[in-house]
Amino acid sequence: MAILETRQLNKRFGGLHVTGNVDFALQPGEMHCLIGPNGAGKSTFFKLILGEHLSDSGQILYDGADITRAKPFERIRRGISVKFQVPGIFRELSTRQNLTIALQHHVSPQVLSEEIDRLLEFLKLADDRDKQAGNLSHGQKQWLEIGMAVALKPQLLLLDEPTAGMTPDETYATGAMLQDLNRAGMTVLAVEHDMAFVRQIAHQVTVLHLGKIFAQGTIDEIVADERVAAIYLGESDA
């Protein structure tokens, strides 16, 4: 059974049909990338899954349960977690506090400190534990937020352009980090522009175009698809 499934999902903003009858299924343990040119409806699709927007019609199933009208925090409590495109961190608080807030509702106070140390190590932020999160470098902020999202021990991790603004080295390290998490059992769905990154992590790729699913397959199949090249890859090569 799919961990996440959308059936005939629709969303309109005024006359604009940003999500059109999307049937999408994500298998447990998969690393799946969502690509598409600007305005393809990737972010809206994410927001529908998270409950930031409510769909006009259609269904969203998570782990077999209908979450179409559930509140965002209810979806999170079911096992979904998200990393936003713009680093969504608590800027005035320290790195440590950021992680504390992510961990405190499901980790007992006795082991909280150990758990934080482990995450700091994993995120390579151990030396910056007391730094104000707003003063971290861009890549570190991205990692911190991934850490906060991962701290919830989600079954499904959603990532909206996780490597935006990162150097190639940071991007590669992020990919490796995600592969570690995936091996530990986490399903990953990422919106991403960086094709090297998509090639590094994705088992499956879905191309969205004008709010609809345009193509699906492995990265090699997608790259070989001339129709996709025409709408998307062609743009960036040109």
Partner: protein, 356 residues
């Protein structure tokens, strides 16, 4: 065993990342200030001591606003609404119930409870309706102004609850002061030394209690909501509940100020909920530094004393000075003047340490 260890871990929260004052240096200073406050009545005229309780009365409201706005990030313009509701409630209750058998203390609890209930109802619609930012300020300001207008037109004899006449614009008076039942006879807390000590004790308890609250898991979440509500929600928190709880606690503290003020002066007027009154708490907490309880206290006391002496010495420009102070704070030290000074001091010290 478990209880005592849990109690110890709760007490440890009196220090933490959400409060600036930390370590032996801070607590020594705190102890000295407290000693000074305790010693003050020995060196001052008891009439002055009683009068100066006035300053303490407002601090609860200021700390409540620090919690709602400074920690929670929701600018409430409505502290005076809860101040007024609790003040009038205390008046109505005590005029009807009298001051025997500790009934004024019961009235205090009930009046604060009424303001908290009012805050819960208003807050429910605000936060569960996802009203935030400037709209929250507008709605809360409107509520306090509506209450002022309403109370101002209650001059006629038909506006009475039991024996208590509301008295319109002139305000309600002649309610009894807080009275503590005691073995050798009731202690009535007139503006005098006894009231001073009771209010001081209450202040210390509320201050330390709030420090524990803001450094607790609850405090972590409300600060997270201030910093990034969407991220907080996407960590699985129902932020509406946290915002509502914060609003109710902070507003109830404004209610406590209202009761203490009404009991202290045996008097409350609609003007206490008017535009001027509503804007002053914003100035108090913004000037000191709203994101910390201690800087809020220091700033509020300082601004109140300045404001009071300007008014007493006949300056008609006290309010203009307050407005200017707010503008200067926002432009020069947006986090608050006390916080800016502490930051400056810390930076200088770390630079000296770095140079040595």
């Amino acid at each position: 065993m478990l209880d005592s260890s849990r109690r110890a871990s709760i007490l440890r929260l009196v220090e933490g990342p959400q409060t600036m004052g930390r370590g032996p240096g801070f607590w020594t200073g705190f102890g000295l200030v407290l000693l000074g406050a305790i010693a003050y009545p020995f060196f001052a005229d008891s009439y002055d001591v009683g009068n100066n309780v006035y300053f303490f009365n407002w601090l609860f409201m200021a700390m409540g606003l620090s919690l709602i706005w400074g920690y929670g990030g929701a600018l409430s313009f409505g502290q005076t609404a809860f101040f007024g509701v609790a003040g009038y409630s205390y008046g109505v209750l005590t005029i009807n119930l009298g001051d025997a058998y500790g009934l004024t203390l019961l009235s205090l609890v009930l009046a604060v409870g009424i303001s908290a209930l009012f805050a819960a109802i208003l807050g429910y619609f605000l936060f569960f309706g996802r009203i935030s930012g400037v709209f929250l300020g507008i709605v809360t300001l409107s509520v306090t102004l509506v209450l002022e207008r309403f109370m101002a037109q209650t001059a006629g004899p038909q506006w009475a609850i039991g024996a208590a006449r509301l008295n319109g614009f002139n305000g309600m008076g002649a309610m009894p002061s807080l009275t503590i039942p005691w073995f050798g006879g009731d202690i009535t807390l007139y503006p005098d030394v006894a009231l001073y000590y009771v209010t001081l004790a209450l202040l210390v308890v509320v201050y330390l209690g709030l420090r524990i609250l803001v450094n607790s898991r609850f405090g972590n979440v409300i600060v997270a909501i201030r910093e990034n509500p969407m991220r907080a929600e996407m960590l699985g928190y129902d932020i509406r509940k946290y915002q509502l709880a914060t609003f109710v606690i902070g507003s109830a503290l404004a209610g406590l100020s209202g009761v203490l003020y009404t009991s202290w002066g045996n008097y409350i007027t609609p003007a206490s909920m008017g535009m001027t009154a509503a804007s002053l708490p914003i100035v108090w907490v913004a000037v000191g530094g709203r994101t910390d309880l201690t800087t809020t206290m220091i700033g509020t006391l300082a601004v109140l004393v300045i404001f009071q002496s300007l008014t007493i010495h006949g300056s008609q420009y006290a309010l203009i000075v307050m407005g200017a102070l707010l503008v200067i704070t926002v432009l020069v030290a947006p986090k608050g003047i006390v916080i800016a000074l502490v930051d400056l001091f810390r930076r200088r010290r770390s630079r000296q340490e770095g140079g040595a």
